[in-house]
Symmetry: C2
Subunit: 124 residues, 2 copies
């Protein structure tokens, strides 16, 4: 299954989900799927902002020395935002509307992180 | 119920929880409860680091203009970390060990945020 198809599956498997993306180091999506009409969601701007917050959280984790950051989630403006590093500076991003099912989103991102990392390694 | 007693209740009501605190603007705990023997957790350093990440996420939310940040959660080094702004630059922090029940932690922080905010307003 290619990246876009996998991201589309993730969006459709999680209640409330509106967008899923693989972000590069700078928070720019390298692959994405956005559901029908995600009013009020500017995925490009959001991905850069939340990718930067994830980078700051990873730096904080490195300073604390207790282990790497595995996941970051936010609730903001009626949306939930999930980010999971997949290695090589890439992250999986899943965004949805409240309430939806961010718990299932967390589970599926964890489940598919390895596959995404393997796919990215093949591309590079 | 005073702050420390409420924070202690929160720690004891959530599986895996080891520490709960009210953080000031700079991430310094203004009230806290730490369970018995939280090995490997330096609450003071962690609170400053995670409080700073929350501040960065709030700034990102402000730039995006979709609404304020309501909650931030992290998984890092076998711990889950929950942060919820309660107004006036103060935040509730709940830290626990994986797997535990961070979902219940999120629920209880949301439930008690108003009460904590009211208590802080009385103090100031």
């Amino acid at each position: 299954v290619g990246f876009e198809a996998r991201l589309s599956q993730l969006v459709h498997q999680v209640d409330g989900a509106v967008a899923c993306a693989v972000l590069g180091v700078d928070g720019i999506p390298v692959a994405q799927h956005v559901a029908g009409s995600p009013e009020g969601l500017d995925l490009e701007s959001s991905a850069v902002e939340w990718g930067a917050v994830l980078g700051q959280a990873q730096a904080a984790a490195a300073r604390l020395g207790g282990g790497p950051l595995e996941e970051l989630s936010l609730q903001v403006g009626g949306l939930w935002v999930l980010l999971r590093p997949v290695g090589g500076g890439h992250h999986l991003l899943l965004v949805g509307r409240m309430p939806g099912n961010p718990g299932k989103g967390r589970f599926l991102l964890r489940l598919h992180a390895g596959e995404v990392a393997a796919g990215l390694a093949l591309l590079s």
